[in-house]
């Protein structure tokens, strides 16, 4: 979904961008322009927000109407419930709030508001988005591997149990 919006952006922009020609890939898939990177962060963040909201919907349904099937999701098992809550928290904080508020707005606004033409290290900027995207793919992929997604709450506390031996 984020991808399709970016494509529309392309169609709209090509009309009045005559002075430097860049290929589509250069401009929208691997951009160096801080504004385009900001848009990538923004739409990836919004896409993740929709996923996080969907998770919230699934487990809220289970709390309010336990044992009934949530429309568009199905039965929520206790293990599902744990991993949904965990990943709702993780996604909303690490893959929505941080990228949108800091990375997207920071990328977009800092150069424009201080009167500079771009970030100081455009390639570093692009790299940081790519690493971020990779991490987003990993967290979503974790739902489809054997054993399911992590379900130990977003703080990921290790099991704390009474000490049996002292070493």
């Amino acid at each position: 979904m984020a991808e399709s919006i970016r494509v529309e952006h392309a169609a709209h922009h090509d009309d009045h961008h005559g002075h430097h020609e860049m290929s589509f890939t250069e401009k929208y898939v691997f951009p160096l322009d801080h504004k385009m990177i900001a848009m990538q962060y923004m739409f990836t963040g919004m896409f993740m927000a929709l996923i996080g909201g969907y998770f919230a919907y699934a487990f809220r349904w289970q709390i309010a109407f336990p044992g009934t099937e949530a429309p568009l999701w199905g039965q929520v098992s206790p293990a599902d419930y744990n991993s949904l809550v965990t990943n709702h928290g993780s996604i909303m904080i690490f893959w929505v709030a941080m990228p949108v508020l800091i990375a997207a707005f920071g990328n977009y606004l800092i150069p424009l508001m201080i009167g500079a033409d771009d970030m100081v290290f455009p390639k570093l900027n692009r790299l940081s988005y790519q690493i971020f995207l990779l991490s987003a793919i990993i967290i979503l992929a974790s739902f489809f591997v054997e054993g399911g997604a992590f379900g130990g709450a977003w703080t990921a506390y290790p099991r704390s149990r009474p000490r049996r031996s002292t070493a």
Binding site: L32, A116, D117, D118, V120, F121, P122, A167
Partner: protein, 190 residues
């Protein structure tokens, strides 16, 4: 693609790359700070760890400290050469620094194989876990520094981008400094 004008500006009075590497180091300090802080807290809580620490070999550690400090010296000399515009000499000194890093890693590898063959593996107990984790993260930084240093030296040889010599030097000094903290904490303190 040419560099943006933003990169060449210097409103804070410090060249941008140098400013950036200082911030990089600031963030690295807290990473090592996290490991070392946890280690110190554990160490204080468990007196028995001193016995484990006695199994480390401070002489090898001291030799490695010496190697790293020497390599830092050649990094400083490389910076001086770069200031004078002598790219060739700077490059050679950087290669020498890289060699120092390589010696450090070889000694480390020898040390670890002996220790592991004596059963002091990463899973032996929490002291050894910390020992390998902290030194391992540090070694990863040494390797990264060596790779970047070779790249910098390649361009410096052609008298290009000489300011990079200083930047990698700052980073190398930082890696050194971390070792200077690790060495007494892991080897000497009994």
């Amino acid at each position: 693609m040419s560099r943006p004008i933003a990169t060449t500006r210097s409103a804070a009075g410090m060249p941008t790359p140098r400013l950036a590497v200082w911030w990089l180091i600031a963030s690295e300090i807290v990473i090592f700070g996290g490991v070392l802080g946890s280690y110190i807290m554990h160490r204080l809580a468990h007196g028995i760890w001193a016995d484990y620490a006695a199994n480390t070999n401070p002489w090898i550690g001291a030799f490695n400290t010496f190697v790293l400090l020497t390599s830092s010296l050649s990094a400083v000399l490389a910076h001086q050469a770069a200031e004078r515009g002598d790219g060739k000499r700077a490059a050679n000194l950087l290669y020498l620094t890289t060699l120092g890093g390589a010696v450090f890693l070889c000694v480390k590898a020898y040390e670890w194989t002996t220790e592991i063959s004596h059963g002091m593996t990463i899973t032996a107990n929490t002291f050894w876990s910390f020992y390998y984790t902290a030194a391992g993260i540090h070694a990863a930084h040494v390797i990264a520094g060596m790779i970047i240093m070779v790249i910098v030296a390649q361009t410096a040889k052609k008298n290009l981008e000489l300011h990079r010599v200083e930047i990698i030097g700052i980073y190398w000094h930082f890696v050194d400094l971390v070792w200077i903290f690790l060495f007494p904490l892991l080897y000497i303190a009994k």
